[in-house]
């Protein structure tokens, strides 16, 4: 049950409501490899915090299981998302230096509460 909720929440984070149809794909792929972990359990209970946990683990806990699960959801999203051109620089060139700075700063700002949360998980 927990795994299914994780799949729903992680896929929804990247794909919105479109993610629901790929829950079984995630579960098939993740089944032999993943187990429960406190960060994922927290994210399932409080999905509002998934974004700050994503940023926090990116900066402070790159190898944690939560990030590995999120990475799988990312890989699935890259394959199935309706607007695939956002992963293709030739079709849709990136935003340039201002865009890189904006998204990096945004991520670092989110990593601050994320990092604090991780201290308790």
């Amino acid at each position: 049950m927990q795994e299914k909720k994780e799949a729903e929440i992680f896929l929804k984070y990247f794909l919105g409501s479109h993610g629901n149809q790929f829950v079984s794909v995630y579960l098939n792929m993740a089944n032999p490899f993943f187990r429960a972990d406190p960060v994922s359990s927290f994210a399932v209970k409080y999905p509002f915090f998934i974004s700050v946990l994503d940023a926090g683990t990116g900066l402070f806990r790159k190898d944690c299981l939560f990030r590995k699960k999120l990475h799988l959801a990312f890989a699935i999203s890259e394959c199935v998302c309706p607007d695939r051109e956002k992963f293709l620089p030739l079709i849709k060139p990136g935003p340039g230096i201002p865009g890189i700075v904006f998204h990096s700063v945004l991520s670092f700002l989110k990593a601050i509460p994320g990092g604090i949360l991780l201290l308790f998980l």
Partner: protein, 535 residues
């Protein structure tokens, strides 16, 4: 009940060296058999015959199967650290190795293959020529060796350029096709090098186009490379030379027998011939092959397993082992940030940077420079210190501006890498690798890597980082059966013959006493040709 097969010459291993040995023996009037465990790409996802990477990404319905493999199995395999070139389509190359040739190690992760074509199916296609000093350090007599390079080049088809890298690459040979153009990011690097090359050359650095086993013009039955940016997924027009390109031709036109599905365990040599004992990997039955001459071409690690089980079953043998240290450097070309990657896109090496720090010693190091093409974002997103969701626009800007240098360093016996094998006639051998790098050696490696970083940075790009994928990741191994002027137990002589044997030859890098940093595959193929002529 043992099935028995007979042939005149048996070649064990159908990778680049095994196939070149077979090509050399075709037409000799002898019955030649090429034998391998036969794992194949039958279950690999099939890519469309038309369209570029972008077009396929936009239009194909089943992207999950294409890029993550059946049931997504590939996602987890690659997470374990295999190279970028091993994609869902190439997963078969390392399939079944965990099960059939297991090993233990705390500090070494080798990659082996049980596939038809072996590791050659994922080869980066780089063709380098070793200097006489390097050839000699390997243990080979340099006189006449260049003829073998040319023989191989004439058959596999090589493209390259006459530039500063020429002395190190196969571009110095005859009949070389023009190189495929570089993309916008690497063209800037090359232009920048041409402006600053005097200083770089003084410091021993030489940059140029790599020579690749890639046809850029029509060549025999193969077509030219078109640059659809699908290099890691399919081999369009068979423009990349791989064993799988050659084997069907050997079978249909040269009467070579290709026997798949057998994993060789050991052999027994007598006055009348050699009997090779193998196991059918599908139904686990025993098979024996009788031959007059045996050529081992399973790679240095595979050969050590076979030789251990043959010469000293149930005893432990320490084989020496060489492996090139390997590091990645990444760079950002600020002028290309946020720009479109441009129409020329290729996942193959676009530039080669050689560092010849002492013109008299065979200690050249080499970097192959790539762009991040035909690969998905998910493969790099986990490396960024950012939220994955925020990484998407960042990567879209960064990747077209990024160059990645894979740096190989030379390896000799000073490190003391070993492969401990307890061979067995009935069971799988137990294998333990040990490749200890003390802090001084590691420090020396990093010093050299930093020289590369400084040299590439001087071309107007920003260094991003150095990453160490660990020992074994170079996939270049050698030296388990060292070559000597005289016969030495557990070694080979300069004709490739196994010590103590009259009928068994070794056609791969098992005998090399030194592992230059330049891509080794082309030299291994030239060596396989030389050995085949001695058989």
């Amino acid at each position: 009940m043992i099935e028995n097969i007979e042939t005149d010459i048996l070649i064990v291993g159908s990778g680049c060296t095994g196939v070149i040995a077979a090509m050399s023996l075709a037409g000799s009037g002898k019955r030649v058999m090429l034998l391998d465990p036969g794992v194949g790409p039958e279950n690999a996802p099939r890519f469309p015959e038309e369209g570029t990477f972008e077009k396929i990404r936009l239009s194909e319905a089943d992207q999950l199967k294409l890029f993550l493999g059946n049931n997504g199995s590939f996602f987890f395999q690659e997470s374990l650290g295999t190279g970028a070139q091993f994609t869902s389509s190439r997963k078969f190359i390392s399939e079944k190795t965990d099960e059939l040739i297991p090993y233990r190690s705390k500090n070494f992760s080798p990659m082996e293959s049980l596939a038809t074509g072996g590791l050659g199916e994922g080869w980066g296609l780089g063709c380098c020529i070793f200097s006489d000093a390097e050839i000699q350090a390997c243990g080979i007599i340099p006189d006449g060796f260049k003829e073998h390079y040319q023989w191989v080049a004439d058959r596999i088809g090589i493209s390259g350029a006459k530039d500063d890298a020429e002395p190190f690459t196969a571009s110095a040979l005859d009949n070389i096709m023009p190189a495929f153009p570089t993309d916008a990011t690497n063209s800037r690097l090359l232009a920048s090098y041409n402006l600053r090359k005097e200083k770089l050359n003084r410091n021993g650095f030489f940059l140029g186009r790599p020579s690749l086993a890639l046809t850029t013009e029509k060549f025999n039955n193969r077509g030219p490379y078109t640059g659809r940016d699908l290099d890691f997924y399919l081999n369009e027009n068979q423009s990349a030379w791989r064993p799988s390109v050659e084997i069907p031709r050997l079978v249909s036109e040269k009467n070579i027998i290709h026997k798949r599905g057998l994993l060789v365990k050991y052999f027994h040599e007598s006055e009348s011939g050699v009997e090779v004992f193998a196991r059918d990997i599908k139904n686990n039955t025993a098979v024996s092959v009788s031959c007059q001459r045996l050529i081992l071409a399973t790679g240095p690690l595979g050969n050590a397993r076979i030789v251990a089980a043959t010469l000293a079953p149930d005893k432990e043998i320490d084989f020496p082992m060489l492996c090139n240290p390997y590091y990645y450097l990444s760079f950002l070309n600020m002028g290309r940030l946020g720009k479109s990657p441009g129409e020329v896109k290729t996942g193959l090496a676009q530039l080669s940077l050689f560092h010849d720090q002492s013109a008299t010693e065979p200690d050249i190091a080499m970097a192959s420079i790539y762009s991040y093409n035909s690969l998905m974002f998910y493969r790099v997103v986990k490396e960024l210190p950012l939220a994955m969701k925020n990484s998407i626009p960042v990567l879209r800007s960064l990747l077209p501006a990024m160059s990645i240098a894979g740096v190989h360093l030379p390896a000799d016996n000073s490190i003391g890498g070993t492969m401990k094998v307890r061979g067995s006639l009935s069971e799988s051998p137990t294998v333990e690798y040990n490749y200890p790098l003390n802090s001084l050696i590691k420090q020396n490696h990093l010093l050299r890597i930093k020289k590369f970083r400084k040299a590439i940075s001087s071309l107007g790009v920003w260094p991003l980082g150095i990453s160490d994928p660990g020992m074994g990741s170079s996939i270049h191994y050698a030296g388990t059966l060292p070559m000597g002027k005289t016969e030495k137990y557990l070694g080979i002589d300069r004709s490739g013959k196994l010590a103590g044997s009259n009928r068994v030859f070794v056609a791969d890098g098992s005998g090399f006493n030194y592992l230059p940093a330049k891509g080794i595959t082309f030299t291994l193929m030239a060596w396989a040709r030389k050995v085949a002529l001695n058989v």
